[in-house]
């Protein structure tokens, strides 16, 4: 209905292949970016920024990572939490070993460690598919969790066993550590997430992204078209784990401030997976929708009792939100297995073909 595309035509392949070929979509994205970069820092409260926006962005990035693996390359993984952990611990080690290195460089470097570990645990994917593979990623999850506890070197033998984020500056501004303001941290994360999402979108629409989807949709055909499964699957693992690793580093350095192994446990793996499922497998926009949904819904649920001045324990609301999210996952799988992103796409398609029910 509001997508009136008549008169939008493409005179070059560049324009036709553009990420957002429809003018209305470009305007929409621009608006979202404006809100994210200008309106929120100017208007939102510290609580909103540090308890909602920052975690949302961190999880969205992790979901992008998992979605690359699960949604685009078709490889199930239950080890996301651990891969995030690898990124976080690597970032911590690098930051403490090389205190003078720019923290952003450290963050981006730490992703490579996660990518490396991802490739190692992705090796079985060459012989194993589907659920079997999912179980082997559990091995990664539990083995890495164990490492985070047992290898004291990883947390510099702290008594607490936790990693504490040191303060780091950028352009004379504290961007990590206790003195970094929420807005600074938010803007750093937002920029990183925006850039990395763009990069992911670029990769996904190019040769490499296509090779992942080929393997996902019909691996035999893909192989007969010259795709080498080894390279394709491992590159998906590497790429995905890189994103998860950076997300993990961001989580600790720009959100939590300190972290223990619990921040990277299997429940976080599941959390990210729910985001991907609810958001929509095979959709980058879905990662953001899923992350918003899964992260924000419980926050809202927790806020309900106080809003109505009901005397309900926080734990109780936690359980209720667990039930609701579980039920929603089932509901989504029944109604729209491809998640919010598909709902959005279907809705958009409806708007585009409005008043007709479908395109003719």
């Amino acid at each position: 209905m509001f997508y009136r595309e008549a008169g939008q035509f493409k005179t070059t392949y560049e324009a036709d292949q553009a990420m957002l070929p429809i003018a209305q979509d470009r305007v929409g994205l621009l608006l979202i970016l404006l809100i994210a970069f200008a309106a929120i820092p100017l208007l939102a409260s510290d609580f909103f920024i540090s308890s909602i926006m920052i975690p949302f962005l961190v999880f969205a990035l992790a979901a992008v990572g998992l979605n690359i693996l699960m949604g685009y390359a078709g490889q199930l993984s239950l080890g996301t939490g651990a891969f995030m952990g690898v990124g976080a611990y690597a970032c911590y080690k690098l930051a403490t070993l090389f205190p003078d290195l720019n923290i952003l460089i450290v963050v981006f470097l730490s992703g490579f460690f996660a990518a490396g570990i991802g490739v190692i645990f992705g090796l079985p994917s060459l012989r194993i598919k589907g659920l079997y593979l999912a179980i082997t990623t559990l091995a990664a999850q539990f083995f890495l969790e164990w490492c985070f506890i047992r290898i004291g070197w990883l947390y510099n033998y702290n008594d607490s066993g936790a990693i504490e984020v040191p303060q780091r500056m950028l352009f004379g501004l504290a961007i990590t550590g206790p003195h970094a303001t929420p807005i600074t941290r938010y803007l750093v994360i937002l920029t990183i997430v925006a850039i990395m999402t763009l990069v992911a979108a670029n990769v996904l629409r190019g040769r490499i992204g296509r090779s992942w989807m080929m393997i996902r949709d019909m691996d035999i055909a893909a192989e007969l078209m010259g795709i080498r499964p080894l390279f394709s699957k491992l590159s998906a693992f590497a790429f995905s784990s890189y994103y998860c690793g950076v997300a993990g580093a961001l989580m600790v350095f720009f959100w939590l401030g300190s972290a223990e192994v619990e921040s990277f446990d299997i429940n976080h793996s599941f959390l990210i997976m729910f985001m991907v499922i609810i958001g929509g497998m095979g959709s980058l926009a879905g990662c953001f929708m899923g992350a918003a949904f899964i992260w924000v819904l419980p926050v809202i649920l927790r806020a309900i009792p106080s809003a109505f001045e009901l005397n309900i324990l926080a734990a109780t609301m936690e359980h209720i939100s667990s039930i609701i999210i579980g039920a929603l996952i089932i509901f989504f799988l029944i109604v729209e297995p491809h998640g919010l992103a598909r709902l959005w796409r279907v809705g958009k398609e409806k708007l585009r073909t409005w008043p007709f029910p479908y395109a003719t």
Binding site: M1, K10, T353, P355, F356
Partner: protein
């Protein structure tokens, strides 16, 4: 190449000034609209664009190449294919060296095409693809003058005889070589254009008359240019228009809309990717100037209806509601009349929820002027598009007139008229009711057919249209029928069968109508119901029936048809010249008229004489006072067997209106 155009002006009616030939306009546009887009073509997935400057280069290269191949002034060049830029360039390229382009219907079978190519005496044929090349080659024995075939798409053609079948590109490189050899070639090419005289033959368009062989209508540069300039002025068309070329090249309408008017106004013509993708290509381009024959609008409306049937209940309700709003107020708003505040509010909402999106889907969001012509358009269909806010208008034209005879000016729209005489066109109605016109667009004559020329065009330049019509009080022309088909009732009143039949056929329940009345006391009709539409209606109204025959004879169906006939009578009564042709008696035929039984032609037109013979007893009954008649008909079934259908067909009387009664009836129905 930048030789200034010789501003040799033509004076017509003391106001319009023009250049002497169409190629002159190409030169002018390449200067005046240098970097403006002249043409677009969706090819290999994207829209390729040519500015007027590009266009000049492409045309000149091809033109020089043709000259290299020996094309002489006066030579005829056939153009065969779909709407593709290179075929349009061929027009100008051929005209530039004084040749005559002859576009040919691409879908005509080899034999038909052979007649035209032979009759025109073509030397070159420019074909779209292998299919057309093969067709022409198969006729080669008969076409003595044919020298070269030039093709646009090279698929499958590489292995053909390179001495005779040439690629378009190749001919263009011949042109380039000519320039390389002689730098002056470009200048002399421009000089040659300057030598074209306005009254020289510009293009030859073959009309496929309903009877006999096609005739080659010769149009001069003056014909085309003045008509186009007038048309541009009439609708204030400028170089900002965009239009989509999708109708046959050989049809005068396309030649004028997509070539003549584009060159004279400097607007952009877009060629679709393939005939299959016209709808989506139109949506992408969103033309501002659009032409389509009624059948296109009919099909579009049908597809809208069909699509909406699949929509959810709420959406359908909303759609119907707003379409009703549009019906009530849309046309008034479009015509700039006053509407109640509630009405304009609802129409505004409708614009957001229905009309705008609908126009967007149809690719008509930006339409400023849309025309339909060729045959009568159903008034409901016509009003539907207008009520959405699309400035759809009717025009009346002919190949012999370079299209424009009359057109509806903005704001003076009536579904039943075809508008006022176009600029510089004079109209008179002959004693037998035939419409005649005289205009700068009047053709030179039929090629190699003086006899036909003389019988069509009078010595002082009036042309017989062959259509009967009259000019109403508002000065608008109304066409009622082919003049040779218009009969007389015994009381002397006109009997225009097509006019009556079409009025009834515009009801979706009615598929076919045969009207009788010539030499009789009153008009009566056979009605054929539309099975799909009526079955649908029957289902909704819980009417049970076992067969077509049973449904056709159902009292409720009769009642419905009766109401339709009555409405037509009211319409007829409103027009004094045809008021006496009101339908007095009708019957609903017990079987569908069928081409297999010889009742229709293969193109599904009624074979009147055959029907008169076959159903003589029914006709007799219509002109007696019987209320029913038994009839037995031999029919051919789908599997080829034949059998008999027997039925007793009811005949009903319908009340007529006098002129005064009509006005009150019209008010009631409004």
């Amino acid at each position: 190449m930048n030789k200034p155009v010789n501003e040799q002006l033509l004076e017509i009616g003391g106001q319009a000034q023009s250049l002497p030939s169409v190629p002159h306009y190409l030169l002018r546009n390449a200067e005046r609209y240098r970097d403006k887009i002249a043409m677009r073509h969706k090819d290999l997935g994207i829209w390729r664009e040519w500015t007027w400057a590009d266009l000049l280069v492409e045309v000149r290269r091809f033109s020089l190449g043709l000259a290299q191949l020996g094309l002489q002034p006066g030579d005829k060049v056939a153009i065969i294919g779909n709407n593709r830029p290179r075929l349009y360039w061929t027009f100008a390229a051929v005209q530039a060296i004084g040749g005559v382009p002859v576009p040919v219907y691409a879908d005509s079978v080899a034999e038909e095409m052979g007649y035209v190519l032979d009759h025109a005496g073509i030397r070159f044929a420019v074909c779209q693809d292998q299919e057309q090349v093969d067709k022409v080659l198969s006729l080669q024995d008969k076409l003595v003058g044919l020298e070269y075939l030039i093709y646009d798409e090279d698929r499958g053609l590489r292995a053909y005889d390179q001495n005779q079948v040439l690629a378009f590109d190749y001919v263009q490189t011949l042109g380039d070589q000519a320039v390389e050899r002689d730098v002056g070639a470009v200048a002399s090419w421009c000089d040659a254009i300057d030598n074209i005289k306005p009254d020289e033959l510009c293009v030859m368009l073959y009309t496929s008359g309903t009877t006999g062989r096609p005739k080659g209508v010769m149009l001069s540069h003056r014909n085309l240019i003045l008509t186009c300039l007038n048309a541009n002025r009439f609708d204030s068309l400028s170089d900002r228009e965009e239009t989509i070329a999708y109708l046959p090249l050989a049809w005068v309408g396309d030649h004028v809309f997509s070539y003549g008017q584009s060159y004279t106004a400097g607007y952009c013509v877009c060629c679709p990717e393939s005939p299959d993708t016209v709808t989506s290509d139109r949506r992408e381009i969103a033309p501002s100037y659009f032409f389509a024959p009624p059948r296109v609008f009919e099909n579009l409306l049908t597809s809208i209806t069909v699509n909406m049937e699949d929509a959810g209940r709420v959406k359908r309700k909303m759609f119907d509601y707003f379409i009703n709003v549009a019906n009530k107020h849309g046309e008034k708003i479009l015509n700039g009349e006053r509407v109640s505040p509630i009405g304009s509010l609802m129409y505004g909402l409708g614009r957001i929820f229905v009309y705008g999106p609908l126009k967007n889907r149809l690719g008509m969001s930006k339409v400023r002027v849309a025309y339909t012509a060729g045959e009568a358009i159903g008034p409901d269909i016509f009003r539907f598009y207008r009520s959405l806010g699309i400035n759809l208008k009717q025009l009346y034209g002919q190949t012999e007139a370079s299209v424009y005879i009359t057109a509806q000016p903005d704001g003076q729209i009536d579904a039943d008229t075809v508008g006022t005489p176009s600029l510089d066109v004079e109209i008179q109605i002959a004693d037998n009711g035939e419409v005649m016109y005289r205009s700068p667009g009047v053709f030179l004559g039929y090629y190699k057919n003086d006899e036909a020329t003389q019988s069509t065009k009078t010595a002082d330049g009036w042309v017989h249209t062959g259509d009967a019509g009259f000019i109403d009080d508002a000065g608008h022309l109304r066409i009622i029928d082919r003049s040779k088909d218009v009969g007389k009732l015994n009381d002397g009143g006109l009997f225009p069968p097509k006019y009556i039949e079409n009025k009834l056929k515009f009801f979706s329940d009615i598929k076919e109508v045969v009207a009788f009345g010539d030499g009789r006391d009153y008009v009566s009709v056979f009605v054929n119901i539309d099975l799909t539409a009526v079955a649908n209606w029957a289902e909704r109204n819980n009417i049970v029936y076992g067969s077509y025959q049973e449904l056709a004879a159902h009292p409720d169906v009769y009642e419905m048809v009766h109401a339709h006939v009555k409405k037509v009578n009211a319409d007829l009564a409103a027009e004094p010249r045809v008021a006496s042709a009101q339908i007095k008696r009708f019957l609903v035929l017990h079987k569908e008229l069928d081409a297999d039984d010889g009742e229709l032609t293969r193109t599904l037109k009624v074979r009147r004489n055959f029907i008169v013979e076959r159903y003589g007893e029914l006709i007799d009954a219509l002109y007696s006072d019987k209320t029913e008649q038994f009839v037995s008909t031999t029919v051919t079934f789908e599997d080829g067997r034949s059998g008999k259908i027997e039925a007793t067909v009811q005949i009903q009387d319908v009340e007529g209106f006098n002129h005064h009664a009509v006005h009150s009836a019209a008010e009631v129905s409004a």
